[in-house]
């Protein structure tokens, strides 16, 4: 295959309190795909992302980003955690949250300056939230909060984007706005990896898919592997979705 491998996962096993939640995962994510990770609750979807990003330590296996360990490639990667993982009553504004995306390139101690602020404002504009830049984050709707998180990832100007359920609790308009931005990212040659719940929209939104349920069930182009067979293997029941052509 001519394509570069953006993310390579080898024999990855992750455990909580000695109970494996991910078992022996091998995964190669080619550069430039828009990939969904699907699987039932407790399948380890978020855990997989967190382990790739070094947030959770694996008990076995390794991860490389363009051939090197994540620690050396941080600048290439942006991460959008689940919206529910943070306290939205935190005393800060939309602009300030987006600015946090620039902290990685600044490194320890250095403060963000005009250049970082300008980048953050541009990212806010891209997600249609510029008018809300000084709004306290608890005053934003769920969809707006998700857009702020997306803007924070955009400001990192990364090559690979990891997103943990970006469509959770957002209205239809925001969902379309977000998926359009993700498709733009792919067009620009970026790799986007999304933990996704809504199986109906997989063929419409994504071109690559990974089925996960503690073990990897399948990974590949949506048109080849998004079928009832793999869905049944992943979800354990006879699963039928009508794939929209």
């Amino acid at each position: 295959m001519a394509q570069n491998i953006a993310v390579k996962v080898d024999d990855l096993t992750v455990a909580y309190n000695y109970k494996p939640v991910l078992w022996d995962i091998d995964l190669e994510i080619p550069e430039g795909v828009l990939m969904a990770i699907v699987g039932p609750n407790g399948a380890g979807k978020s855990t997989l992302i967190k382990a790739i990003l070094g947030i959770l330590p694996p008990i076995a296996g390794s991860v490389t980003i363009y051939g090197k360990p994540y620690k050396k490639q941080r600048a290439l990667v942006a991460y959008v955690p689940q919206k529910g993982s943070v306290d939205w009553d935190f005393p800060t504004t939309a602009l300030d949250v987006v600015m946090m995306g620039t902290y990685g390139s600044l490194g320890w101690i250095k403060r963000p300056r005009q250049k970082e602020k300008k980048a953050a404002l541009e990212a806010l504009e891209k997600v249609g939230m510029l008018a809300f830049k000084n709004r306290q984050i608890s005053q934003l709707s769920g969809g707006q909060q998700q857009r702020i998180f997306l803007a924070r990832a955009l400001v990192q100007n990364a090559s690979i984007y990891f997103m943990d359920e970006p469509f959770q609790g957002v209205d239809a308009t925001t969902e379309i706005a977000i998926i359009n931005i993700l498709k733009e990212l792919r067009k620009a040659g970026k790799t986007v990896i999304v933990v996704h719940h809504d199986l109906q929209t997989v063929p419409e939104y994504f071109d690559w898919v990974t089925f996960l349920n503690v073990k990897k069930i399948a990974t590949g182009p949506v048109k080849d592997i998004f079928n009832d067979d793999n869905l049944t293997k992943t979800y354990g029941i006879n699963y039928k979705v009508s794939i929209q052509e």
């Binding site: 309190n17 967190k50 990003l53 070094g54 947030i55 620690k71 941080r74 990667v77 991460y79 955690p81 993982s85 943070v86 306290d87 935190f90 005393p91 800060t92 504004t93 300030d96 949250v97 946090m100 902290y103 990685g104 600044l106 490194g107 320890w108 101690i109 403060r111 963000p112 008018a131 306290q136 608890s138 005053q139 934003l140 709707s141 969809g143 707006q144 924070r152 209205d171 308009t173």
Partner: protein
């Protein structure tokens, strides 16, 4: 004011500032109770350090005490990680155990050391000026002033250097980790500062007031601002305000300084709790009342929009139809009239053009739940503010 009075107020103020800074982050991290645990659990370290050095302000004693504070944090986390008990239970298990070791150590040796349990719990600020720091024969001020001054200087230095790291790891530990700012390192850094500050402040104000000085000013500030920097500044301000007003309250009442400062902290929090402009109890009650009225208004306007027949729009019929009491009906009617949304002609109510447009817009919003459409309505109506 004599110099001892000034010195006491200065010490109390520096302690208040030194406590407010880590306190703000503890409150935001929902870890207020860990400061209670630290303040009690440093006792064994303090006592052992005192046995070795015979000096409450010795750096070794401060280090040992801070170390036992950190051990508390580690033990709490270890017990919690087993998954057998929750965090609050783990805190409740660890610190009384450590504190009681300290109490026993004091009791066994109480006769020959100047350290008793009362002083540990309440401190004695009034005596602070008597313990002087003498450098080559010159009196340079009370020792505890130098101790807390040094701790505060280090705390401020760390805050300025690592403000961004503290902010991002407090708000979003996952992002912080992915960016390379280890939340674990920042967590233990903050816990170390909290432990050292507690030890430094402990001698002057005791274990109970240390907790109050860490938590109350930050909690008060949290109610008044939506900006982290302002929250820090306000917490510092309320800490110092309580320290100085508490000192004078004690002076007038001839009461314990520590007790008076704590009372002022509680009083200032109560004021903010009641009167804070947007988060205060009174503001919340007012806003809810407004919202009720506004929902009624929209219901009423919608009724007018849906009914063109006159019998449905007669002033007297409205009370019966919408099933409201007279007072409420009148409030809504007046509000609609003041805003030029209705006209009343011969007791028949009709929507104006403005009222009609507003109703359409409001209903659209309620159905589609799209925020962009009602940005300009938000200033007038509480209902649409988040």
């Amino acid at each position: 004011m004599n110099s001892a009075q000034i010195e006491i107020q200065l010490i109390a103020s520096l302690v208040a500032i030194a406590c407010a800074i880590p306190g703000t982050f503890l409150v935001l991290r929902k870890m207020a109770m860990i400061s209670d645990a630290i303040s009690h659990a440093i006792l064994p370290g303090l006592v052992i350090g005192f046995f070795i050095t015979q000096d409450l302000n010795s750096p070794l004693l401060i280090l040992l005490a801070a170390l036992s504070g950190l051990i508390t944090v580690v033990l709490v986390e270890q017990i919690q990680q087993t998954g057998l008990v929750k965090e609050d239970t783990a805190i409740g298990l660890v610190f009384p155990a450590l504190f009681s070791i300290g109490v026993i150590l004091i009791a066994k040796n109480a006769n020959d050391v100047h350290l008793d349990v009362d002083a540990v719990l309440l401190g004695e600020l009034a005596f602070a000026p008597f313990d002087r720091l003498i450098i080559s024969g010159t009196d340079v001020g009370p020792k505890s002033l130098w101790v807390i001054g040094s701790i505060l200087t280090v705390t401020l230095g760390l805050l300025f250097a690592f403000f961004k790291e503290l902010k991002v790891s407090t708000f979003d530990a996952g992002l912080s980790a992915s960016l390379g700012f280890s939340p674990v390192i920042i967590h233990y850094g903050l816990m170390s500062v909290a432990s050292i500050t507690t030890v430094g402040a402990f001698d002057a104000v005791g274990a109970i007031l240390v907790v109050a000085l860490m938590i109350a000013p930050a909690a008060t500030a949290y109610l008044l601002t939506t900006d982290l920097k302002k929250m820090l500044l306000l917490a510092v301000f309320f800490g110092v305000l309580s320290a100085i007003s508490g000192y004078w309250m004690a002076h007038i009442l001839d009461a314990s300084i520590a007790g008076s400062i704590t009372t002022m902290l509680g009083f200032i929090f109560l004021m903010a709790y009641l009167f804070a402009p947007s988060k205060g109890v009174i503001a919340v009650i007012y806003r809810e009342k407004q919202q009720r009225t506004e929902v009624s208004l929209i219901t009423f306007l919608l009724h007018l929009k849906n009914h063109s027949e006159k019998s449905e729009r007669h002033v007297n019929h409205l009370c019966e139809h919408i099933n409201w009491q007279k007072v409420r009906a009148k409030t809504v009617l007046d509000l609609a009239q003041q805003n030029n949304m209705i006209i009343i002609d011969n007791n028949i109510v009709s929507l104006t053009d403005k009222g009609d447009a507003f109703t359409t817009q409001a209903i659209d919003y309620i159905i589609t739940n799209e925020d962009a459409q009602i940005e300009d309505m938000k200033d007038d109506f509480f209902l649409f503010r988040g």
